[in-house]
């Protein structure tokens, strides 16, 4: 049984077909790449999977359950978390609060309990604090916990976004261009880091990335989109040598 399966999902924006009949299948603990030239429809695919857009056609299955058209917060609760291409942190809030907030969806105490601070709520809060600090440690940001998140340099903001997504306890993590804006050193570290989080949290990862070294270095399988159409899928080696893929990239650059 696949963890995530999309069945011919299509997204049309008034005339423009951003994604056409996309079939993706991801199993537990896989690291999958989704690549393609600018405007190919990669982010749109993410938005359909995470409920930001309802596909014009087709179905999204998570653990064989049809989750098409559910709200983003419901999808996240099922176990799909994401980061954003144009980083979307809670800018005015601290690094730690950014991660703490991502635990809210699993909170059992109600609002009243949180205001009067019942023992049960305080236990949950303590647990969330410790879990969030551990996550910050995992991404190497524990010393910056009280910093305003928008004050972090770009690479660290990307790491914080990943920590925040992990705090929702996902089974599948979607990363939208995690290496964008990172220097060569940082993007090299990113490869090791992605494998680490897969192993540590036991999750599958679907990653959009333009940085070919990163994609080829960590992805076990790759899907290639061009103008919304899946032009290739397979192992990194095969993709690298696929004439259609080479053409799509050369045609754009």
């Amino acid at each position: 049984m696949a963890l995530l399966r999309t069945d011919k999902i299509t997204m049309q924006f008034s005339g423009l077909t951003a994604v056409l009949d996309l079939n993706i299948e991801i199993n537990d603990r896989e690291i999958i790449g989704l690549i393609g030239p600018n405007g190919a429809g990669k982010t749109t695919a993410f938005n359909m999977i995470t409920g930001v857009y309802k596909p014009t056609k087709g179905q999204v299955y998570y653990n064989d359950k049809d989750v098409t058209g559910l709200k983003p917060h419901e999808i996240t609760k099922f176990g799909i978390a994401r980061t954003f291409q144009n980083i979307r942190l809670f800018k005015e809030l601290t690094v730690l609060d950014n991660v703490i907030i991502a635990n809210h969806l699993r909170l059992k105490s109600n609002l009243f309990g949180s205001v009067v601070r019942t023992p049960g709520y305080r236990r949950e809060e303590q647990h969330i604090y410790e879990k969030s600090m551990a996550l910050l440690k995992d991404v190497g940001l524990e010393d910056l916990k009280d910093e305003k998140s928008s004050n972090l340099p770009y690479g660290k903001q990307r790491r914080l976004e990943i920590a925040r997504a992990l705090a929702t306890d996902p089974k599948l993590l979607l990363l939208d261009e995690p290496a964008a804006g990172m220097n060569p050193q940082e993007s090299h570290e990113l490869m090791g880091f992605i494998r680490e989080i897969r192993d540590k949290f036991d999750i599958a990862i679907l990653m959009i990335e333009h940085h070919m070294q990163v994609v080829m270095g960590v992805c076990e399988r790759i899907y290639v989109l061009d103008y919304g159409v899946t032009i290739a899928e397979g192992l990194p080696d095969a993709i690298q040598n696929d004439p259609k893929v080479i053409e799509a990239y050369l045609g754009v650059d």
């Binding site: 954003f84 809670f90 703490i100 809210h104």
Partner: protein
């Protein structure tokens, strides 16, 4: 005879000061409730006067005795059921708050799905609708004649007692997990939703809680003045509270407390500018509404020069205060 006059003046002067002090407490409650919705959750709601009206009418109808209601409703007799119920003041305040919260819940369902600008217009419209409904439901509200002879239960103790409760409620709410979820929505709705926060549910919570405290504040106001009518709850009232929130800093509890106090006092202190002023060489006639002009200019000044208000999103903090002073002293000695 002369002495007696002075004594009377003294008493009225003192009770006048106490009334302003009491009013400060009420405006703190109102400012905090609006800051929860607009400042901490980032919803641009302009419905506060409507929630206050609901709280004020419901609580006043609940504390008035059946005989008093009979004498006030002389145009059309009061609905017999409403005539008979009478509750003690604190209970009436709570029911007034709950009624406002209930109304917020009902209108929240359609309105909270709207985006900022539309939300502002829709809540503003709702607030006017409440006023129109109150004006036209003669047997429930006595229409445009309003309610008179309401017992003046609200004193400084009640107003400040409830203000302090509200302050603590807001502090704990904002620092807790739900408050953080509200702030996340303010910062970035798309990211908040992607982190599993239901936008609608949390916006509704904030809206309903804010309306509850607005209703309680409205009830306190009615029982301070002793008379209410639909005209009291025009948009200008919402504007005054918005002024407090913006001046104090959108999203700062201490900022709201300070500016609620300052605005309430200034509101009274500046009363003289609406009276005719004789400067010896020139006679300025009294211009009603002059205070609002001054406040609007203040608001524009703050928006231009301190776009984040007095406190921004920061809270007053002794550490910060002392550190700043200490640093300054060090700089001097260096």
């Amino acid at each position: 005879m002369k002495n007696r006059n002075i004594a009377v003046l003294n008493i009225t002067l003192d009770s006048y000061k106490i009334k302003i002090f009491t009013l400060c407490g009420i405006y703190i409650i109102l400012g905090l409730s609006m800051n929860l919705i607009n400042g901490f959750t980032g919803l641009f709601s302009l419905g506060h006067a409507g929630f206050m009206a609901v709280g004020a009418y419901v609580s006043a109808l609940l504390t008035m005795s059946p005989e008093l209601k009979d004498s006030v409703f002389y145009v059309a007799p009061i609905n017999p059921f409403i005539k008979m119920i009478q509750l003690p003041f604190p209970l009436a305040l709570i029911v007034g708050g709950l009624a406002a919260a209930g109304i917020a819940f009902l209108i929240g369902a359609p309105v909270l799905r709207l985006n900022d600008d539309y939300l502002a217009i829709a809540t503003l419209g709702f607030s006017e609708i409440i006023r129109v409904v109150i004006t036209n439901t003669q047997t429930l509200t006595n229409g445009s004649l309003g309610l008179k002879g309401i017992t003046r239960y609200t004193n400084a103790w009640w107003a400040w007692g409830i203000a302090i409760l509200t302050i603590f409620f807001m502090i704990w709410l904002i620092h807790g997990m739900y408050g953080k979820a509200f702030k996340a929505i303010r910062e970035d709705e798309i990211a908040a939703e992607a982190m599993g926060i239901s936008l609608f549910k949390h916006k509704m919570m904030s809206f309903v809680i804010g309306a509850f405290f607005a209703g309680v504040g409205g009830g306190l106001l009615g029982h301070l003045i002793g008379a209410i009518d639909p005209n009291m709850f025009r948009f200008i009232l919402t504007f005054n509270i918005l002024l407090i929130v913006v001046l104090g800093g959108i999203g700062s509890i201490t900022g709201t407390i300070i500016s609620a106090t300052a605005v309430t006092i200034l509101m009274e202190a500046l009363r003289f500018i609406e009276n005719p002023i004789n400067l010896g060489f020139i006679n300025i006639p009294g211009i009603p509404g002059m205070r609002m002009v001054v406040f609007s200019l203040m608001l524009m000044g703050v928006i231009l020069f301190y776009p984040k208000g007095l406190m921004g999103r920061a809270e007053f903090n002794w550490d910060y205060f002392l550190k700043k002073k200490f640093l300054r002293n060090r700089k001097k000695s260096a």
